[in-house]
């Protein structure tokens, strides 16, 4: 998942646990608050654009979806592997092309009907319907599900063309408890794709009833008629929607038919407070139980004897970097790129600009994921070596004409000003900021390759598998995810091999080699792994905080195990 700025929309962290059961306090019936007080109030920041999980893209949408819908799997708390959710287990055929998911037999919808394999087929086809153009559909058609790869060439105005495409997909339900997915290519990471929240089952009968009967596969209005109404959002997750107060809040209550033990939290209310300062005031006046601390208030919270005890610093499985347009001189020269990378003091960046909310990291894969290895120091801070590299290249004068493309947000301007200062101080090169309206950066600059240096750029794990990270820098991603477009000889072949490789040791070895290529050629300049700084009221207990959680909602992957103590 691409990072553009500190916008809320960008975070989806899935990965290693760093803190288990941060509540800690022993759970006894003596300190448990009464059921009517088992209410959790948190800030989700932005209203979901849709409550249909298959049509969602952003983490503020996922926050609601993971409570209302179960995917086949989710990441284990330590993110070492997947653990069962909608499915109990799975088998992979010896050629790696057929995944057979054995569904949870006692799984029920919130209206009490059993969840069947055909619901999964229906949900996944809804996700892959090209007429609906779901935002997060790529991992399902891009070199994965059989028959899905021509997603982009289907005539979405023709119902017969869409039907033919959907019927040709490698999705089947041989019996009510077995969901079979056939792939085009072996994909060792596909179990992780099955943890993505938009790959949810859906109820054909409910959707058709809300639409007023069966409808054409190109009728996008009827296909989504159910998704704005709490009564027709029938899910298979631990909670169900009780109330939708548009743009203000959403209220969730336990799904009485959920397969796991009944949760203690009897109500979760997510508010949509866009301004971090407002949420902070609400937390201080006891109207919210969990918030993300705005950057401007981090120092105040750290210095406050009461608030600092309620604060949690949570690593995310993400990494920031700056991209170089390697299609133009002098940034096509690895020496120049390395000189820029080596003249940034990342410790100072994290402590001064980010108030300590991060980990300086001059390598690619963030801490907490397989493949994390900070030993390669090719991009580490070393002003003397940086100056020498630039002198060797003889392109200092050319470099001084380059500009740093900057999104017009306070956060981004602050960081980029810091970077420009670093280059001025440590390299003696003046690089101007080119500040541009955030909205137009992607379309007018990045997609067209019209920039010299761009930052902050970065990535947040969709799932803790290295494939999700290394695919970014494939040459085929030029001007889409790989904004800098560096084409490293042998990289594409190595990644394609590793993505399909079933031997774990060999796969890890290939990715290690690939990471070295990225760092040593300075495809981008890696900067730091951001951490989240959240406040949680002391009476919210039983949270299992993992890097899978939403950045605003620590522990939200397992809220059904949390509870409120007497206060």
């Amino acid at each position: 998942m691409q990072i553009g700025s500190w916008s809320r929309a960008l975070t989806l962290a899935i990965g290693a646990v760093f803190l288990a059961a941060c509540g800690g306090g022993g759970q006894t019936s003596a300190n448990l608050a009464s059921p009517d007080k088992q209410i959790l109030r948190a800030n989700d920041g932005t209203e979901p654009n849709s409550l249909d999980p298959t049509q969602q893209t952003y983490t503020y949408e996922r926050a609601v979806a993971i409570q209302t819908y179960d995917s086949l799997f989710r990441a284990k708390a330590d993110s070492s592997d997947v653990e069962p959710l909608g499915a109990q287990s799975f088998d992979v055929s010896s050629d790696g092309l057929t995944y057979t998911f054995h569904l949870r037999q006692n799984a029920k919808w919130s209206d009490g009907k059993p969840v069947t394999a055909s619901d999964w087929v229906y949900g996944w086809k809804h996700l892959l319907n090209p007429a609906l153009a779901a935002g997060y559909v790529d991992p399902f058609f891009d070199q994965t599900i059989a028959g899905a790869s021509n997603y982009g060439s289907v005539d979405t105005t023709s119902a017969s063309a869409v039907d033919a495409y959907l019927n040709g997909l490698g999705l089947s339900a041989p019996d009510p408890n077995t969901f079979v997915v056939k792939l085009d290519h072996p994909a060792a990471y596909f179990k992780w794709v099955a943890t993505l929240w938009m790959a949810a089952p859906l109820r054909k009968d409910v959707i058709e009833q809300a639409a007023g009967g069966a409808f054409s596969s190109t009728d996008t209005t009827k296909a989504e008629a159910w998704a704005n109404n709490a009564a027709t959002i029938i899910g298979n997750g631990p909670y169900k929607i009780k109330e939708i107060a548009a743009k203000d809040h959403i209220t969730l209550v336990p799904n009485p038919n959920y397969w796991a033990a009944a949760p203690k939290l009897q109500q979760i209310t997510y508010y949509y407070i866009a301004d971090g300062n407002t949420a902070y005031s609400q937390y201080q006046t006891g109207a919210l139980d969990i918030i993300n601390v705005p950057l401007a208030d981090v120092t105040v919270v750290r210095g406050d004897p009461k608030l600092s005890k309620e604060a949690k610093l949570i690593p995310t499985l993400s990494q920031y970097w700056i991209s170089f347009n390697t299609k133009e001189a002098p940034l096509d020269d690895a020496k120049v790129r390395l000189a820029l990378a080596k003249s940034i003091d990342r410790d100072k960046l994290v402590s001064d600009i980010e108030h300590g909310n991060g980990k300086p990291l001059p390598t690619f894969i963030p801490k907490g994921m397989p493949g994390y290895d900070p030993s390669d120091n090719a991009q580490s801070f070393d002003p003397a070596a940086a100056k020498k590299l630039l002198a060797d290249s003889g392109k200092a004068a050319q470099l001084a004409k380059m500009k740093l493309l900057t999104r017009n947000t306070t956060g981004n301007k602050t960081v980029n000003q810091f970077l420009a200062d670093q280059w001025q101080t440590n390299l003696g090169v003046t690089i101007q900021l080119d500040v541009v309206d955030s909205k137009t950066v992607t379309g007018q600059h990045l997609r067209k390759g019209v920039f010299d240096i761009y930052g902050l750029d970065g990535w947040i794990s969709d799932y803790p598998d290295q494939q999700d990270w290394f695919d970014i820098f494939q040459s085929g991603s030029c001007h889409s995810l790989n904004w800098g477009c560096l084409n490293i000889p042998g990289y594409d072949a190595l990644i394609s091999k590793a993505d399909a490789e079933s031997d774990k040791t060999q796969r890890a070895k290939d990715y290690t080699q690939a990471q070295k290529m990225l760092i040593d050629t300075a495809v981008v300049a890696f900067l730091y792994q951001p951490y989240e700084y959240d406040l949680v009221k002391p009476y919210v207990q039983g949270l299992t905080v993992t890097t899978t959680d939403d950045q605003y909602l620590p522990g939200d992957s397992r809220y059904n195990q949390a509870y409120i103590t007497q206060h």
Binding site: I3, T57, T220, A246, K247, S281, T285, G286
Partner: protein, 334 residues
């Protein structure tokens, strides 16, 4: 010329004052149609000239080219712009303002109906605060010109007009919510955010009303001072009329004409929402929705909101013009 085109009965109607007023209102309402057409044309053109597409996000995950292509087809953005415009006009004629790009399967009219009540409630309450407080302070200051009352009132008006409302809003939150909560252990404080028909309205309404109050007070004072010096006021005093009667019947009625002129646009301004007040107090109103729509290039939402705002402003101006007829007998309906 116009009279000649009317049937004789209508000509008879226009000859009476109330008939003329009715014709005036009908004509102004009919004029709104071309006005709205040009508002749509200009907004549509500017919207499409502005760089950035509805599918590019300011930050965060970016959609793939394949998905963007399919979205353009889904929402008809692959068609020529002129055709898109004609299709839009055609649906507006049928009172269909289309589907939002940002909120899936939600109609623009539904979204406007969802958020406008919040904005309208706060705007209306602020307006109801402005008339007595703004006009009252202005008249008071004028009648007691160059006294302490005048200086205090105008000092307040200057301060209120100088502070931007995000500063006032944030200050009020800190003092009346956060600090009050800490000081009283959570017993007495105003909610920092949210909407309800309760004490959560106080801070947003005051924040929103402060600037117009200050403006109205200064305007009323100036216009009242102007009126006080008129001959007819001197005559009223000379006749020995009691102060109450002089002020209400002779001074106020005349000094309020310029104030009424500004109250129309002020009302329109208040009920179309303030993005700052709605953001600071997290009110799910139309002002914030409009800015979010512009930021995300939600074309149908931008157009729908603009049309609604134009209507509100046009109607507010019409009401002011009609109000003139009653306040100022010199006004002629031509």
């Amino acid at each position: 010329m116009r009279g000649a085109l009317l049937p004789s009965q209508l000509r008879a109607i226009t000859s009476t004052r109330s008939g003329a007023l009715a014709i005036f209102i009908v004509r102004r309402i009919l004029w709104m149609i071309p006005i709205l057409f040009f508002v749509i044309l200009i907004t549509f053109t500017l919207m499409h000239l502005a760089p950035g597409s509805p599918w590019d996000k300011a930050g965060g995950r970016q959609l793939s080219d394949t998905v963007i292509n399919n979205l353009n087809i889904r929402y008809g953005l692959n068609k020529p712009v002129a055709q898109q415009f004609l299709l839009y006009i055609w649906s507006v004629v049928h009172f269909d303002f289309g589907l939002s790009y940002q909120y899936q399967n939600k109609t623009v009219s539904g979204l406007l109906l969802e958020s406008w009540p919040y904005t309208a409630t706060i705007g209306l309450l602020a307006f109801l605060l402005i008339i007595p407080v703004g006009v009252g302070l202005g008249v008071l200051a004028a009648l007691r010109q160059n006294t302490r009352i005048d200086y205090i009132t105008m000092g307040f008006a200057t301060v209120a007009a100088s502070f931007p409302n995000f500063v006032i809003g944030a200050l009020m939150v800190v003092v009346l919510s956060v600090l009050a909560y800490k000081a009283t252990g959570g017993n007495f404080y105003l909610p920092a955010a949210g909407f309800g028909i309760d004490d959560s309205l106080i801070m947003p309404v005051v924040t929103l009303a402060l600037l117009p109050i200050a403006y109205t007070a200064r305007l009323t004072r100036a216009s009242t001072l102007d009126t006080i010096r008129q001959d007819f006021v001197r005559t009223a005093w000379a006749k020995g009329l009691p102060e109450r009667l002089v002020v209400i019947r002779h001074i106020l009625k005349n000094s309020l004409i310029p104030v009424v002129t500004t109250l129309g646009p002020t009302f329109a301004f208040l009920v179309t929402g303030s993005v700052i007040v709605e953001t600071v107090f997290s009110i799910p109103g139309i002002g914030r929705a409009f800015v979010v729509a512009i930021e995300s290039r939600d074309y149908p939402m931008i157009l729908g909101t603009t049309v609604l705002f134009s209507l509100v402003i046009a109607v507010a101006n019409l009401v002011v013009d009609v109000a003139y007829v009653f306040i100022d007998p010199r006004v002629r309906l031509t």
